[in-house]
């Protein structure tokens, strides 16, 4: 996985880091920390399969995140389907 591809992921998912020297970036949603992934340091390519596992997506979804066919909102839905983000409560009120 190229460094610029990871940068695109970081921007799209608005991954958070404490400071530039950190090794990890975190995906937060509605006040909860949901996933984390290893950041790229220097110009070294990162192993796509391991980044993908940390972000909890399959290969097609991961490729979509990089190629722009999967949005941040789509990613939230993926995590919801995986049970990492609580399902939206359907209102039962009349």
């Amino acid at each position: 996985m190229k460094v610029h591809e990871f940068s695109r992921l970081e921007t799209k998912l608005e991954l958070r880091v404490r400071n530039s020297g950190d090794r990890l970036a975190w995906f937060e949603f509605e006040g909860r920390v949901i996933t984390r992934t290893k950041r790229s340091h220097g110009n070294k390519d990162l192993p796509a399969n391991l980044i993908r596992q940390q972000l909890k997506v399959n290969e097609a979804q991961f490729n979509g995140l990089i190629s722009c066919t999967v949005s941040k909102e789509d990613y939230v839905e993926i995590l919801r389907d995986r049970g990492l983000i609580p399902a939206i409560q359907k209102s039962t009120a009349p």
């Binding site: 400071n19 909860r32 391991l50």
Partner: protein
């Protein structure tokens, strides 16, 4: 919570002591003494060269209750050391660098998760937090 990670102090970074030397490996003599001296890591046997045990972390604040077993693999011109149980890895130009990177990543992961309440973590990260808490011991000063 949006600021919880960003607002953490830099104290975590200061805990890391890059000059710390490694002490006593917890098994029989290492196969690669130079590597073990630098990282506290060593393959368990010649037949198990794709796995490596490491017993120390790059900080005085934490120690491992037992060695962690990392899987080594080549990735292009780099080496990856990964811990499948917690889906974490280190990467470097050689085994030593990959193990050191993994150790620093594990420390950062542990300290960051410890600073966040379970209610503010996904179930997966709670699992990782519990896994690390069972293996890492915070040293009292």
């Amino acid at each position: 919570m949006a600021t919880s990670i960003a607002s953490m102090t830099d104290s975590m970074a200061s805990m890391v002591d890059s000059k710390r030397t490694i002490q006593e490996p917890q098994a029989s003599a290492p196969l690669f003494p130079e590597l073990a001296e630098k990282t506290g890591a060593f393959p368990r046997s010649p037949l198990d060269a794709g796995r490596i045990l490491f017993a120390t972390l790059p900080t005085r604040r934490l120690r491992l209750s037992q060695p962690l077993e990392a899987i080594l693999e080549k990735h292009e011109d780099s080496v990856i050391a990964r811990l499948d149980e917690i889906e974490e890895f280190g990467i470097g130009e050689n085994v030593t660098a990959a193990i050191e990177d993994l150790g620093r990543t594990v420390v950062e992961l542990y300290l960051t998760l410890q600073a966040i309440r379970d209610e503010e973590l996904s179930s997966d990260l709670v699992r990782v937090k519990e896994n690390l808490a069972a293996r890492l011991i915070l040293q009292s000063w």
